[in-house]
């Protein structure tokens, strides 16, 4: 029983954090908002060089052969940096899905994806919208065009421009497209194998988003503490007023108790334990709650400046709000958690937190 990340895992996190701190200042994010594609191929290639895209791909397929426990801190770091690139989804879904399909498809696409030469977007069975479909050399599609058939995995190469219907998000970093016109493509896998692949992929996607919420919440808290320490009213820093301090302390508490839930979900997925789906939904809900609280108290502690376009705080607020509804949103995860907890045959209580602790 060890709840600590290894030195290697921490080092990987640090190297990504330092890279993003240097390469992705908020001016760069705003610059991308104003660019036509909203993405930077150079940044994408550099991220690939760090190995971040390869974490969950087996070594035999040219990846690092690691697992969710090795990725969760990286996802958190992406949230902290508000990285616009679809790194987390690519590393947690696109790359491992391609590796799992194997064969020619993997040979053709995986090396290019891991090298950062292309992007491969994903339309999961849960999606109404598809992120980053425009910059993608290919899109992995659940089902044909219906979007709800999880028994098929298709690969649509070079989505045609007339199938790309842009839908603007509140978060200018997000590039969203309608799911429905994206159809066709080659059937690359089907049946129960695909259902299992999707089940795992959805859990990974939700885990990655939950971890990004933690990172975003931590960033909002940092901004808020810095602002409240500097801004003076009534002759003193507003961060000395308990009304402000208590709100920020509550965010700190919520974050402290969301983090281990998210890390545990990573461990459950990595080890494939029976409660993995429940643990991911718990992580989703806990991280979402902490992030929503950070956003609310964060903007409040900034006052009117927090409500402006100019202040960088908005980058994280909007990411938090948008992310909160992804991967099935709260309803889907609450329902899944309820099924697990309110079941007469589930063992709950002391000694049952870890699956085999009976």
């Amino acid at each position: 029983m060890d709840f600590q990340f290894s030195e290697e895992q921490r080092m990987f996190e640090r190297s990504l954090r330092e890279f993003l701190a240097a390469e992705l200042p908020t001016e760069r994010i705003r610059g991308l908002w104003d660019s036509e594609r909203g993405r930077s191929d150079a940044l994408w290639r550099s991220l690939a060089e760090l190995g971040v895209l390869s974490v969950l791909v087996p070594e035999s397929d040219g990846g690092l052969g690691l697992d969710e426990r090795d990725f969760v801190l990286l996802a958190e770091t992406c949230g902290y940096a508000a990285l616009p690139e679809p790194l987390v989804d690519s590393a947690l879904l696109s790359a491992p899905l391609l590796a799992a399909v194997g064969g020619e498809v993997a040979q053709r696409w995986l090396p290019a994806l891991l090298a950062g030469e292309v992007r491969v977007a994903v339309a999961t069975p849960l999606d109404l919208l598809v992120a980053d479909a425009d910059g993608a050399a290919a899109v992995l599609l659940a089902g044909g065009s219906a979007g709800d058939d999880d028994g098929e995995l298709r690969l649509l190469v070079a989505p045609p421009a007339d199938a790309l219907h842009r839908q603007d998000s509140v978060d200018p970093s997000r590039r969203l497209f309608s799911r429905t016109p994206l159809g066709g493509g080659d059937l690359i896998a089907e049946g129960d194998t695909v259902r299992q692949l999707w089940a795992r992929a959805l859990n990974r996607g939700a885990l990655g988003a939950a971890a990004q919420q933690l990172g975003a919440a931590a960033r909002v808290l940092e901004y808020s503490v810095a602002y409240a320490s500097e801004r003076k009213q009534f002759g003193r820093a507003i961060g000395s007023f308990q009304a402000v301090r208590n709100q920020l302390a509550d965010v700190a508490v919520a974050l402290e108790f969301a983090r281990p839930v998210v890390y545990r979900a990573a461990d459950s997925l990595a080890r494939g334990v029976a409660t993995a789906a429940r643990d991911v939904s718990h992580a989703w809900l806990a991280a979402g709650e902490a992030a929503r609280m950070a956003a609310r108290h964060g903007i409040q502690s900034h006052g009117a400046i927090g409500y402006t376009w100019e202040l960088d705080l908005q980058i994280w607020l909007k990411r938090i709000w948008a992310t909160d509804a992804l991967w099935g949103g709260r309803a889907w995860h609450s329902e899944r958690l309820e099924t697990a907890v309110f079941s007469p045959d589930v063992a709950l209580g002391a000694g049952h937190t870890f699956d085999e602790g009976t």
Binding site: M1, F3, Q4, N246, A252, Y263, D267, A350, E356
Partner: protein
């Protein structure tokens, strides 16, 4: 990171479970805030000690098992799962014990720890005074040094377990004219000392879980000074760190309460679901109990690899106390008009345990440093905000 138990840990759990299955009294003991209940709980402490399960984290030389914090968590899980009695000597074993091991002399450890482990000395806390509650540095109770003795005068209040306990530990002002955190000393005082008067104070449930303790020229040996004279504040902070941080409220307590809450809800589901908010509250309480468990395992892992308890002592205290309120308030709303029934009432649920727990949960955000104080500590030390 690997969240599975080792074979050793499984064996430890099985051993604890077997022993508890044969040792835990079949019927619940009366409250330890009654005279007979206090005596019955003291007997239980002796029984735990004889089985070497009373102080699992202590070194073997003091009657423990040298268990690490993960094993402690496992033991606590088995303890709550077995429905074993509350720990009447919690003040001693979980708070003073670790403080003695850190700050006590060898002679003090040998003198105080074995009888504490054996249940022969049950400890009360003596922090608060009528004018020193949250502002503990306002302590005015004096202990004046006369050779090898201190002469204590003043009053302590809200002293938990002092009604029936044998000894009291707390802070006293040993330097005349000193102010705030300076000049305070951590003393261990037998409650049967001449000059000490203990006046029970009844708590919300009607039982004397508190007492006021009056000192009127009460003498205390200088051998009972823990740490340096005048250095009591830092010793007390160490105790407070243990209290809030980890050992006061092991997660097992909330895991079991959450389990009971889920089954209470499921048993009455169709009726309860008429208020749709209850379902969400039950789920939220279960999630938080689980989160507290996970966070505690994470802290234990960190401490095991050489870390020290830090801001967890404040974040934990806020979290478990608010969780306890949430668990019990939700149970009360499920119980409806039966919620108010005492254990003596025919229609009460689960022997009145939910009501008892609900009343006790009201105290959680107040004792061991109010949650307002904890939020201040978090704002100051964890976030580094300007002082208020």
């Amino acid at each position: 990171m690997n969240l599975s138990y080792s074979d050793c840990q499984h064996t430890f759990r099985a051993e604890a479970r077997d022993w508890l299955a044969s040792a835990v009294p079949a019927t619940p003991l009366p409250s330890f805030d009654t005279k007979e209940g206090f005596a019955a709980h003291r007997e239980w402490e002796r029984c735990l000690h004889e089985g070497r399960w009373g102080t699992v984290t202590w070194p073997e030389s003091y009657g423990g098992r040298g268990a690490d914090l993960i094993e402690w968590l496992i033991f606590e899980e088995e303890y709550y799962r077995a429905g074993a009695p509350g720990r009447v000597n919690q003040n001693g074993i979980f708070l003073l014990g670790p403080t003695l091991m850190e700050h006590g002399t060898q002679a003090q450890r040998q003198r105080f720890l074995p009888p504490m482990a054996a249940g022969d000395t049950i400890w009360a806390q003596g922090w608060s005074e009528p004018n020193a509650g949250s502002d503990m540095a306002a302590i005015r109770c004096t202990a004046e040094r006369h050779g090898d003795r201190y002469i204590i005068n003043g009053q302590k209040t809200w002293s938990t377990r002092a009604t029936f306990a044998d000894w009291l530990f707390g802070l006293f002002r040993t330097e005349a004219g000193s102010e705030r955190h300076r000049g305070l000393s951590f003393l261990l005082v037998p409650l049967d000392t001449p000059g000490i008067t203990v006046r029970p104070v009844r708590q919300l449930n009607g039982l004397p879980g508190f007492a006021e303790v009056f000192f009127d020229d009460a003498e205390c040996s200088a051998d009972n000074l823990l740490g340096e004279e005048g250095g009591g504040w830092s010793v007390a902070m160490a105790t407070a760190g243990f209290e809030r941080g980890l050992m006061l409220r092991s997660p097992a307590r909330y895991q079991e309460a959450a389990r009971r809450l889920v089954s209470l809800y499921l048993a009455q589901r169709p009726a309860v679901d008429r208020d749709p908010s209850v379902r969400g509250a039950v789920l939220a309480a279960w999630m938080r109990a689980e989160a507290y468990t996970l966070a505690t395992y994470a802290t234990a892992s960190r401490l095991l690899s050489g870390g020290h308890i830090g801001s967890e002592s404040s974040t934990n205290k806020i979290f478990w106390s608010e969780l306890d309120l949430e668990l019990h308030s939700t149970a009360m709303s499920i119980l409806g008009e039966r919620a108010e029934l005492q254990s003596t009432a025919v229609d009460c649920e689960a022997g009145g345990a939910w009501l008892e727990g609900f009343l006790f949960a009201q105290a959680g955000p107040i004792y061991a440093g109010t949650n307002e104080i904890q939020r201040n500590i978090i704002a100051d030390r964890m976030l580094g905000l300007p002082r208020s």
